[in-house]
């Protein structure tokens, strides 16, 4: 067991990858609970694409990818808030247009560079195995800032998720709370993008939280703790599987993609497990108790 789970992390680059993946798994899982509660999955997916032109411009100009991604990420979060105020354009259509438009500008920018396809792949899929200490520090600090804000505004954000009208009636600005959450999601996307790439960040934000939602219904805090554990375990197991496959079995498994597949497998196991428990309990009791046992199984 120890050979399988500990041995890979003797190499420095894998230790750094592990630290980065675990931090992102924890932060992504916790923020993801809000994403799932508020049904912001498409919003999160759009943000993973709209940070791309900023990164592409930074890449071509030789600036910081982090700053580039942050600029277009925040710009698109504001644009999205404005676009969805129009009643004739549904928010999902607005998101789709913004997502494809921004992403295409990014592709046009990188297509001007000579190493077009290689650049694009790096930007899209990240390089978790090439993470350096400075990146880990940036991710850790960003993650810490995001968690502190989430902790400070926990009651307000949860209230807004379940009852926007009561939130407004209590004197909170729903628009401001939405903007804060959108910017927090943007920050997670930006810090995760270099490690796992713009396309796969969505998995860190949605899959652990979705699994937690199946397991825990008691409180949002408990969901967050569960999602953080699933996210961190997924990052660690993903790296182990990718290492095992590549070193001992000769399959070259992309590490970012393997982390996502492990997270998806964890989600599928949770789904199968909760469904089985629900079915067993339903058959063990009177038919009238079926509805309540389903709830109990999910919690």
């Amino acid at each position: 067991m120890s050979r399988l789970f500990i041995e890979p992390f003797q190499a420095g680059y894998l230790q750094r990858a592990l630290i980065e993946a675990v931090i992102l798994g924890i932060v992504g899982g916790i923020v993801g609970v809000h994403v799932v509660l508020r049904r912001l999955e498409f919003m999160a997916d759009a943000l993973t694409h709209t940070v791309f032109p900023g990164m592409a411009a930074a890449f071509v100009l030789g600036g910081s990818l982090y700053v580039g991604a942050l600029i277009t990420g925040v710009a698109s979060a504001v644009l999205l808030t404005l676009l969805t105020r129009n009643r004739r354009v549904t928010s999902d259509a607005a998101l789709a247009v913004l997502l494809t438009g921004f992403f295409s500008i990014g592709v046009i920018i990188v297509s001007r560079s000579r190493t077009y396809t290689a650049d694009l792949t790096t930007l899209l899929f990240g390089r978790v195995l090439a993470v350096d200490v400075a990146q880990i520090i940036a991710t850790a600090l960003t993650g810490l800032a995001v968690l502190v804000v989430l902790w400070a505004l926990h009651k307000e954000l949860v209230l807004r998720a379940f009852d926007p009208e009561a939130t407004a009636a209590l004197g909170y600005s729903v628009t401001t709370l939405d903007l804060v959450l959108n910017v927090l999601i943007t920050l997670v996307v930006v810090s995760a993008v270099r490690a796992v790439g713009s396309v796969l960040v969505i998995a860190l934000l949605v899959t652990p939280a979705a699994a937690a939602q199946l397991l825990v219904r008691r409180s949002v805090g408990a969901m967050m703790a569960t999602a953080a554990v699933i996210g961190a375990v997924g990052g660690w197991l993903g790296l182990v599987v990718s290492y095992e496959g590549s070193i001992h079995h000769g399959w070259r498994l992309a590490s970012g993609g393997t982390i996502v597949l492990v997270l998806t497998a964890l989600f599928a196991s949770v789904l199968a497990g909760t469904a089985t428990v629900a079915t067993l309990r339903r058959h063990g009791r009177r038919p009238g108790a079926a509805a309540t046992t389903l709830e109990a199984a999910a919690s």
């Binding site: 808030t81 105020r85 259509a93 789709a96």
Partner: protein
């Protein structure tokens, strides 16, 4: 104009133009249903989650269209089934399938040589290398999808606005919804080899969202959307050729620009004026 005719004198550009116009027109029609039922995220998910189908088709040496079309059906079924789990919202189910499906494709392709080239083509397309077989597939899928949408037009529109009424009238709602999802799936799959995932989503959603700004009538929406789609394809190709930039992304930028201009002209609810109707208590959903 002589520049234009010179641009389209090569068979390569003629095929690209034909593909762009056909895909744009087909996507515009299908897109009206996508926008009406708020299926943009589903469409996005479909484009990414069918990626493994493409990789598997290439590994097995079967046609890319067959591979993605079959895999796409699996994806549609998965999203539909997961969305029925009580504790899960349908957009959560869509997100999980999108990420998992795409990652499966990435991992599959990472174990193969020729990694970067295929991946880029999948995402942003390579419309300039469109083959005659791609044109035939697009045309056949286009005729089939448009025929189905025309025959089922009333039922599908009623289902979008009032599914309870549709069910009360005795129509098989699940079957009709399924037919629409398969029509969207086939459109996406027919478009991907030529135009890539991002452009496929753009051509489906942006023209229909634009049409929605100009008219409230569904039939008229379809006419406007398919015109906007086809026009964007043609203009995007010319622009990309003139300035030597990637064709697919240029078409997306053109269609996004048409949407943005329409929004400024027709859609902005200016603070003062007729359209500034009071909003519900929750401003952003």
């Amino acid at each position: 104009m002589s520049g234009l005719s010179a641009t389209f004198s090569s068979p390569l550009m003629q095929r690209a133009l034909l593909e762009a116009i056909m895909t744009g027109a087909l996507a515009g029609v299908v897109g009206v249903h996508v926008v009406l039922r708020r299926l943009s995220f589903f469409t996005m998910s479909l484009t990414h989650a069918t990626f493994p189908g493409l990789v598997i088709a290439e590994l097995l040496g079967i046609s890319l269209f067959t591979g993605t079309a079959v895999f796409g059906l699996v994806v549609v079924a998965l999203i539909a089934l997961l969305g029925r789990v009580r504790a899960l919202d349908s957009s959560t189910a869509t997100g999980v399938v999108l990420a998992g499906g795409f990652a499966l494709g990435v991992v599959l392709i990472s174990s193969q040589p020729g990694f970067t080239k295929d991946l880029t083509a999948f995402l942003v397309g390579s419309i300039l290398t469109v083959q005659t077989s791609d044109l035939v597939i697009t045309a056949v899928v286009g005729v089939a999808v448009v025929t189905v949408l025309a025959v089922l037009h009333k039922e599908l529109v009623l289902g979008a606005f009032d599914p309870a009424n549709l069910a009360a009238l005795g129509y098989p709602v699940l079957l009709l919804d399924g037919a629409l999802l398969v029509a969207i799936e086939l459109t996406v799959v027919a478009a991907i080899p030529a135009v890539g995932t991002i452009l496929a989503v753009a051509l489906i959603v942006a023209p229909a969202a634009t049409a929605r700004l100009w008219t409230d009538r569904i039939g008229m929406s379809m006419v406007i959307a398919s015109t906007v789609g086809a026009l964007s394809g043609a203009v995007g190709l010319v622009v990309s050729n003139q300035w030597d930039i990637a064709a697919g992304p240029t078409i997306v930028v053109v269609v996004s620009t048409i949407f943005a201009v329409s929004l400024l002209v027709k859609g902005v609810s200016w603070p003062v004026g007729r359209q500034a109707a009071p909003r519900a208590a929750s401003p952003v959903g």
